[in-house]
């Protein structure tokens, strides 16, 4: 079995307590444990993280960029979802 058969893993790192895990890159490893160990060596050499998630790249199901218009256009037309849409009379505060 060669390296080619090792699956690709996406690596997510939590940089400190209170923040969410963030995608930092990918690597190849024989299994999840090895992926975490490799991620430790490659992505946290300078104290970049305190927690690591690894997910097999094959298991990530992504939206299709060519469908972006139909997926996200409805949000563009609903400006009333933002507070700046509303008029607040002068003199009103704490709103």
């Amino acid at each position: 079995m060669s390296n080619a058969n090792w699956p690709l893993w996406e690596v997510f790192i939590r940089s400190k307590q209170g923040l969410s895990h963030k995608h930092v890159g990918s690597l190849r490893a024989a299994d999840a444990q090895m992926a975490v160990e490799n991620a430790r060596d490659v992505y946290t050499r300078r104290s970049e993280g305190i927690s690591i998630w690894v997910v097999q790249s094959n298991d990530v199901f992504a939206s299709d960029p060519s469908e972006a218009d139909s997926l996200y256009e409805p949000a563009d037309s609903k400006v009333y979802r933002h507070p700046t849409f509303y008029d607040v009379p002068d003199g009103i505060s704490h709103m």
Binding site: S2, W6, G25, A30
Partner: protein
């Protein structure tokens, strides 16, 4: 797909580039853009990996523990940089194994600088100062490259690489301020690495066949000659500061332009090294091939262990 459709896609693609919108892996892109990036990113990855060899040569012979720890950390960084870049190439559909086979067969190139030997400890100084210095000069504009994964990899690489140049300059400074023999060693390393470092920026703009298209695609942000000039302007005063002499009789400062003028680069030598006839081309590729063959049992063992662990977990769940 109909031809006018492709034209339309290409127009939209260029419009995104012109508006500084990054291209991400699953976006439509012209085949030539993809191929150019795969070629450039995998060459860049190979350079990081082959670049470990000239320095690895001195890890066991570093003059003290501090220097040894620093050199180890630097070489480990280069391995990481290779990984970030191979991963970026994979996002474009490049096969990792094939990419590496292309290096081993001689089909793929890597930076010609690593085909020069490291003859003395001072070479560790010259490499950090000049080679990493030139690499940073090339890589900083790549942080703004139009392809997202490549640009993000470069941000990480540049952050990590800033210590590489400093540790090299520190070695040079220490030797330059040392005994006459130590200073001579530093000067000798500068003499051997100066011209190959200038060659790292690639052929002159007029000779560089990829530059124009790469600039239009914002893969490249500055031309070879612009970057080379910046490097010379920054590095010459550093050499003067530590009392070393740049090995170029034609080097002079032009007060009107504010730039240094420098002598003609030996392009015959450059092309010879690129074509595989440099002092260490064969050694470098042989070392990589040997590393892959000798590491085979480790990869096999890891795969067998992973399988065993997976089976054990399955039994536990059953």
């Amino acid at each position: 797909m109909k031809e006018n459709n492709i034209e339309e896609l290409e127009r939209q693609f260029q419009e995104k580039i012109d508006n500084d919108i990054k291209i991400e892996p699953r976006d439509w892109m012209p085949d030539a853009y993809r191929d150019t990036l795969i070629r450039q990113i995998s060459q860049h990855a190979h350079s990081e990996i082959v670049g470990m060899l000239p320095e690895g040569n001195w890890i066991t012979r570093a003059p003290n523990l501090r220097r040894k720890a620093v050199l180890l950390a630097k070489v480990q960084d280069e391995a990481g940089h290779g990984l970030y870049l191979y991963s970026a190439a994979e996002t474009l559909g490049a096969d990792r194994e094939e990419t590496i086979d292309d290096l081993h067969s001689g089909k793929a190139k890597y930076s010609s600088i690593f085909n020069y030997p490291t003859l003395s400890w001072a070479d560790m100084g010259a490499i950090g100062w000049l080679v990493d210095g030139a690499a940073i000069m090339n890589q900083v504009p790549l942080c703004r490259c139009s392809y997202g994964p490549y640009a993000r990899a470069m941000v990480r690489v540049c952050k990590e690489e800033s210590f590489h140049q400093r540790q090299g300059f520190e070695i040079m400074t220490t030797l330059a301020n040392g005994t006459p023999e130590q200073k001579a060693m530093a000067q000798d390393a500068l003499n051997r690495f100066w011209w190959p470092a200038l060659m790292m920026f690639g052929p002159n703009d007029a000779e560089s066949k990829h530059t124009e298209q790469s600039m239009r695609w914002k893969i490249k942000r500055q031309t070879n000659d612009e970057l080379r000039q910046q490097f010379v302007d920054i590095t010459v005063p550093q050499a003067e500061m530590i009392g070393l002499t740049i090995p170029d009789a034609d080097l002079k400062f032009n007060t009107e332009t504010g730039h240094y003028e420098f002598g003609e680069i030996n392009w015959d030598e450059f092309w010879q090294v690129v074509k595989g006839n440099g002092p260490c081309n064969k050694d470098r590729v042989d070392a990589r091939r040997k590393a892959k063959e000798n590491g085979m049992w480790v990869r096999e063992a890891a795969a067998a262990y992973a399988e065993k662990r997976a089976n054990r977990n399955k039994e536990k769940r059953a």
